[in-house]
């Protein structure tokens, strides 16, 4: 087993445990902390795949930005009653069956479809190539995505206004 394989299985196991913790814990704040750690571990997996810019972006946007906002929301909504509330609703049996079915399909594909045996390419800097792509060939999709974000921002402002426009 090489070092990369070891790190991959270590990070993967950690990610699974943390993700399970996010959905099972009754303490919302602890769940949010587990989620932020899981997102950080994901950045580690990105690094392993050679996406250094993507990993830094993941940490900057998700762990440093989005998770802080989620924690703000958790502070507003966490009440002692939540610790006694049921964690499942009436449809948990169909959901379980559906989930097991999807898992079975995935496992079947994993064992029957031949996987290409490829080793990881040596990690190379990606930010220069990404920058050229985003502001060159992919400039229009990039701008359209930012337009969607702008629309979301204006929408949040309209919903957040206390008086009518």
């Amino acid at each position: 087993m090489t070092l990369e394989t070891g790190i991959f299985y270590g990070l993967g196991g950690l990610l699974l445990i943390l993700s399970l913790l996010v959905v099972t814990t009754r303490n919302l704040f602890r769940g949010a902390l587990a989620l932020s750690t899981a997102l950080g571990v994901m950045a580690g997996l990105f690094v392993l795949l050679g996406g250094d810019f993507l990993a830094a972006g993941q940490l900057l946007i998700y762990v440093g930005g989005v998770m802080v906002l989620i924690l703000f929301v958790v502070m507003f909504v966490q009440t002692p009653a939540l610790f006694r509330a049921p964690q499942t609703n009436r449809r948990w049996i169909p959901a379980l069956v559906l989930g097991a079915g999807v898992a079975a399909v995935f496992i079947h594909i994993f064992y029957t479809v031949p996987m290409p045996e490829e080793t990881l390419a040596p990690a190379a800097p990606t930010s220069a190539a990404l920058g050229k792509l985003l502001l060159g060939d992919m400039a229009v999709p990039f701008e359209v995505v930012s337009l969607i974000l702008l629309a979301a921002l204006v929408g949040a402002l309209v919903f957040g206004l206390e008086r009518e426009l």
Binding site: L3, F29, L33, A56, G64, F72, M75, T126, S127
Partner: protein, 356 residues
């Protein structure tokens, strides 16, 4: 004096070859040398707050025409080690009703990212631990994790003052992160690299053969970017005049009210190391890194420049009164952010004009 960075680099290379000669594979030797380098760096970083706390006490004292600590050791030199020793032996108190896990994790989340941030910082010739291509972005990304720690400290203390402090701290740090990152964009545009080592090396040339081509000397753009970065860094490190999250007169001590002993010490350690990190970044990005006259080695020049920026941090503390919480946000979103965007446009126009 010698170039410590290059000597260390040669020493590590020699040790690696010796390990390979002893029968280790090159890969094992590489891992061992990286572990060694990381340990040395973290040990040095842990010592920084000792000096900064002493400097802060003495400089504050001189600014107020006092003497500062004088009794423990010569000129009070041993005051900070004595305080550290005291903090080691203090009882660790977790408030009743607080979540003990979050109370502990807050310290870890606030203090641990500090040490990772130093990996790509070039302290001088031959120094950066990793020649990271995403350098400056990596530092901003990792230092952003500390915000979670401050928020968790506010929540995990089961105290209203701590909670208010934590929320204020998180809001302030998330907001000021934006002008801070945007103020660096002109630097990245000019040197077309995120790599801190590349940026520092690109400034080692001269204008007309004598004027150092540091980024701060670019007319207009350089000064605006530096001032924006400095203001946002002071706000990021929660120091006066931006110490709204701690604000002794309103919130007791903000998010670290309920912490004692070494947990409390770690919050302070993180704050002081962030001050050092911000100053080191300012020295690298705007003041030419290890560039300077040849009679001193590059790491001494780097330390001198970092020390000068740290002095600015201390100077601010005794010059400006604390901002009100709404004024703080207004200042960030209505003044710093537009100015940073205008500066980026100016820098882009300059580059287009130069290359056209």
């Amino acid at each position: 004096m010698a170039e410590v960075g290059i000597i260390l680099r040669q020493g590590v290379d020699f040790a690696r070859q010796w390990l390979v000669g002893m029968g280790a594979t090159p890969f094992q030797a590489l891992v061992a040398s990286k572990v060694f380098e990381t340990t040395v760096t973290i040990s040095v970083i842990l010592a920084i707050p000792l000096f900064l706390v002493y400097a802060e006490r003495k400089i504050s004292a001189f600014m107020q025409a006092r003497l500062g600590p004088m009794h423990t050791g010569p000129w009070g030199l041993l005051q900070t080690p004595a305080d550290t020793l005291k903090l080691f032996f203090k009882e660790d108190i977790v408030p009743q009703g607080a979540d003990p896990l979050i109370h502990l994790m807050a310290v870890v989340l606030a203090a641990a990212p500090v040490f990772v941030c130093f990996a790509p910082v070039p302290f001088g010739r031959g120094f950066p631990l990793i020649n990271l291509d995403t350098g400056i972005l990596f530092v901003f990304a990792v230092s952003g994790i500390s915000t979670l720690g401050i928020l968790a400290a506010g929540w995990g203390s089961a105290n209203k003052f701590s909670m208010l402090g934590g929320i204020r701290g998180a809001a302030q740090m998330v907001s000021y992160e934006i002008p801070r990152a945007l103020s660096v964009v002109p630097v990245v545009l000019f040197y077309s690299s995120l790599n801190l080592q590349t940026i520092a090396c690109a400034q080692m040339v001269r204008w007309h053969g004598w004027m150092p081509k540091w980024f701060i000397f670019y007319p207009g753009i350089g000064q605006i970017a530096f001032i924006l970065f400095l203001i946002a860094s002071v706000a990021e490190t929660n120091r006066i005049p931006f110490d709204i999250p701690e604000a002794e007169s309103e919130l007791v001590s903000g998010y670290h009210t309920e912490y004692s002993g070494m947990k409390f010490a770690f919050f302070f350690l993180a704050e002081y190391v962030y001050v050092f990190l911000s100053s080191a970044l300012a020295a690298t990005l705007f003041l030419g890194g290890g560039d300077g006259a040849a009679f001193l080695p590059s790491w001494v020049w780097f330390t001198l420049k970092t020390g000068a920026v740290i002095f600015l941090f201390l100077w601010f503390r005794w010059t400006f009164p604390r901002l009100r919480v709404d004024r703080l946000m207004q200042f960030c979103w209505q003044f710093l952010l537009p100015l940073a965007l205008v500066n980026i446009v100016l820098a882009a126009a300059w580059i287009t004009w130069k290359t056209a």
